[in-house]
Symmetry: C2
Subunit: 179 residues, 2 copies
DNA sequence: CAGGAACTTCACGATTTTGTGAATGTATTT
DNA sequence: AAATACATTCACAAAATCGTGAAGTTCCTG
């Protein structure tokens, strides 16, 4: 029962997990390819992979990698890193990038607030519809506000834990700005 | 400039807004038809519409209404209500249903927690990948926990406002800071 | 109890989406 | 400076999705 391996050092077990995790990510709205790529890099021991490695591991074309990576870097789930001695680029996933993405992705919530707000101009003032729209608008606005406090508490908690459990790893809080 | 109307009492202005709001909803992952239907009912003064009204207003087939409504009721964005003297059913939207949906939709967050957890079984123990997976798992678990507090504060706030401003005027609000 | 109205389900056609191969662009190395 | 190695873009084909019409089912009405 020697560990089955594939070109880039993933065991078949790990490969299966990558697909499994990708499915979960896909279920929350991300397209298939970006999900698979994100999952693969996340699971890789180094936390980074090159385009060629991704193509070989996931059995997809370089074109698919390119397209998916472009999307991933645009929204900030993955960052690029140039490798000094090579033309190759590495695509990096650190856990913080996803966390920050969720924390600061106010765009989604804001578009709801704006969207409901617009409705107040077209329905009967003080009517039942206006009341519904107002409540929803306020709720999403409230979530927006609350997100700050939530993240504050998260970072407080991680600081505390980070001090308690020295894993011998340099703090991963620094992430590369993409582009 | 008499108000242009369509069969079910929507002005063209309102119809345009319905499509606009539907687009926002669609942008966050909901399919087109469910989004349009939800938007239409939400904007309707009564907060409820029949299948026939929906079909006429949105110019779609009864089949499309049926399919979309089934999905909407399954996830809880819309509820059904039988009309006493008729075979017709009404589909109801109240602002609370969406709010509760978001508040209690722990399934999404939980599947992330579970998903990351599974990964810990296949990566090198105490390695960098394991550290990433653990942090993400903890983060989503944290969000799950925090959701309770957030909703508690929301309901406290609405109770307060309900007493103070019956029409639901948006009052300057501050983010909660305390635990 | 027959007729019909309302909703649902099913199979199909049309549209949209998605990934590939080939061509193109760009930077590094010799 | 030419060659080469990566990465990206484009057009197309395959595949998945979506909405419709028609048939089916269920429950009211007369």
């Amino acid at each position: 029962m020697a560990e089955q391996t594939v070109p880039e050092g993933f065991t078949t077990e790990q490969l299966a997990y990558v697909e499994d995790l990708a499915a979960t990510i896909t279920a929350s709205g991300v397209q298939r390819m970006p999900s698979r790529i994100y999952a693969a890099i996340l699971v890789s021991e180094e936390g980074s992979m090159t385009a060629a490695e991704l193509a070989a591991t996931l059995r997809i074309s370089p074109a698919a990698v390119s397209t998916a990576v472009r999307w991933l870097t645009q929204i900030g789930m993955v960052s690029r890193r140039s490798v000094p001695g090579s033309r190759r680029e590495q695509y990096v996933v650190d856990s913080d990038s996803l966390i920050r993405l969720i924390a600061h992705d106010t765009r989604a919530l804001q578009s709801w607030v704006v969207g409901f707000g617009r409705g107040l101009g077209v329905v009967e003032p003080d009517g039942a519809a206006a009341r519904r729209l107002t409540e929803l608008q306020e709720f999403f606005g409230f979530l927006l506000e609350e997100m700050d406090g939530v993240m504050e508490r998260w970072y407080a908690r991680t600081r505390q834990q980070g001090a308690a459990t020295p894993t011998g790893q340099p703090s991963p809080s620094r992430a590369a700005r993409n582009r």
